[in-house]
């Protein structure tokens, strides 16, 4: 059994875990912002009538959803230098997370916009609004509400996915656990500690999702994780 589980070692390594946690949080935040940008762009392309923008957007979204993040990460990690972009691991990781999550965000936004009843658009047309006015004043404010809980669900997925960046040696939370496991041969101490930290992040985001659902007057959302 785990009779010699060493809390002292965990305390000793706490600064390392703290750094890892902070790195995981901010790299997730940046990646999520990136994912929002990619997602909005893709959703806008996907909602066009013409095929010129819609087809590439659809192809990109399907390609991302049908392949594992780890393969995408390695694709960028081993592929970018070949194209002449030698970037730090951390940047490659953030790029991979943004591009991956962006595809899922695009689908969430598209579903949100399509959930607005047709009558709303028609009322906008009847009031003499232009396309931009209808989008800005009628559709987006309503769609925004619907997308918040699933977006927070995607944020949970993103934080968990960021653990994969440890495999290209980005010094985030999982990497800290691996270091303790390999330096001191204490895998239990290392991995149980980081699991606890991830759970902390998970419950924070889950609580936020529940709160946002209540604030926005939506049904309690089934988290999409």
């Amino acid at each position: 059994m785990l009779e010699n589980f060493s809390f002292r070692t965990i305390v000793e390594y706490l600064p390392l875990f703290g750094q890892g946690l902070v790195t995981t949080v901010w790299l997730s935040l940046i990646s999520f912002a990136g994912a929002l940008a990619v997602g909005i762009l893709l959703a806008a392309m996907n909602l066009q009538r013409g095929w010129l923008f819609r087809v590439p957007a659809k192809a990109y979204i399907d390609a991302v959803r049908a392949t594992p993040l780890l393969a995408q990460l390695y694709f960028l990690y081993f592929g970018l230098p070949r194209l002449g972009f030698v970037l730090p691991e951390l940047v490659v990781g953030i790029l991979a997370l943004s591009l991956n999550s962006g595809a899922y965000v695009a689908e969430i936004i598209r579903a949100g916009i399509l959930s607005i009843p047709r009558g709303q658009v028609e009322a906008g047309v009847a009031s003499g609004m232009t396309y931009v006015q209808r989008m800005r004043l009628v559709i987006l404010p309503q769609a925004f509400k619907v997308t918040i809980p699933p977006l927070l669900g995607q944020a949970i997925v993103l934080v968990k996915d960021s653990a994969l960046l440890s495999l290209i040696s980005v010094a985030e939370l999982t990497r800290a656990g691996q270091l303790l496991a390999s330096d001191r041969f204490m895998p239990a101490e290392g991995f149980i500690t980081i699991a606890a930290f991830y759970l902390l992040l998970y419950y924070c985001l889950k609580g936020l999702a529940a709160l946002s659902g209540r604030w926005l007057g939506l049904q309690p959302a089934r988290s999409s994780t």
């Binding site: 049908a66 594992p68 390695y74 694709f75 968990k160």
Partner: protein, 224 residues
């Protein structure tokens, strides 16, 4: 140069086949086990016993709240400390099955809860046993809700199987990693790796979409 690389890639096709076999074996075994376990857990979760339901809920939350990579490390490195010796393949199967079971449990539970109580009451009034009610009345109706996300879950499972390469299993992703050390063309190598997953996952994604549409249509909802 690209020709040389292609030749070199063609030379590593036995390795690629082995990796593909490993990915398929991992996914299939844990898909079957995870589905069985997930349905069992889902039925228990919606059963009368509060304690069992809460325990399952807590476990599911634990699994949903931690990265899969960390779960694999926990299983692979800590079970041996508890005296359970296991190889990487078994550890991978355990981790994937557990993950799938937890997600499928929630999908099945949601499906069962969606069946109107009148149906259960009618079954009770007809004198059906507990098992008969579940098998003949509740589950067939729940399946309509369960099926689309279940297929979606299988896609996630196949994709998540790539993470077991972290404990040294030579699956498709790991093969890409090995080949790229010899053939320095990451774009080409991982394009091919991605293609391998895409061929399996894309039809499943399409299937899930179609099932969703059919069910939406059956409920008389407007498809946009």
């Amino acid at each position: 140069m690209i020709w040389q690389q292609l030749q070199s890639l063609a030379g590593s096709y036995p390795l690629a086949l082995r990796g593909l076999g490993m990915t398929v074996a991992l996914s299939l075994i844990s898909l079957v086990l995870g589905t069985l376990l997930g349905f069992g857990l889902g039925i228990l979760r919606t059963g009368g016993n509060r304690l069992i339901s809460a325990a399952i809920g807590a476990w599911v939350d634990l699994i949903r709240g931690t990265p899969f990579l960390v779960q694999i490390f926990l299983i692979f490195f800590i079970l041996p400390e508890l005296g359970i010796e296991l190889d990487a393949f078994t550890a991978g199967i355990i981790a994937l099955t557990n993950l799938a079971a937890c997600f499928i449990c929630e999908i099945v539970a949601a499906g069962i809860r969606s069946v109107p109580t009148g149906q259960v009451e009618a079954a009770l009034a007809s004198g059906l046993s507990r098992w008969q009610r579940m098998r003949q009345v509740v589950l067939p109706q729940a399946m309509r809700i369960v099926l689309p996300p279940l297929v979606g879950q299988y896609v996630l499972l196949i994709k998540d199987s790539s993470v077991v390469s972290a404990i040294g299993l030579t699956d498709l992703t790991r093969v890409g990693w090995l080949v790229v050390q010899r053939v320095p063309n990451g774009l080409l190598v991982f394009f091919l790796v991605g293609l391998g997953y895409f061929i399996v996952c894309y039809p499943l994604i399409m299937l899930a979409r179609r099932l969703e549409q059919r069910i939406g249509a059956a409920h008389g909802e407007v498809q946009l």
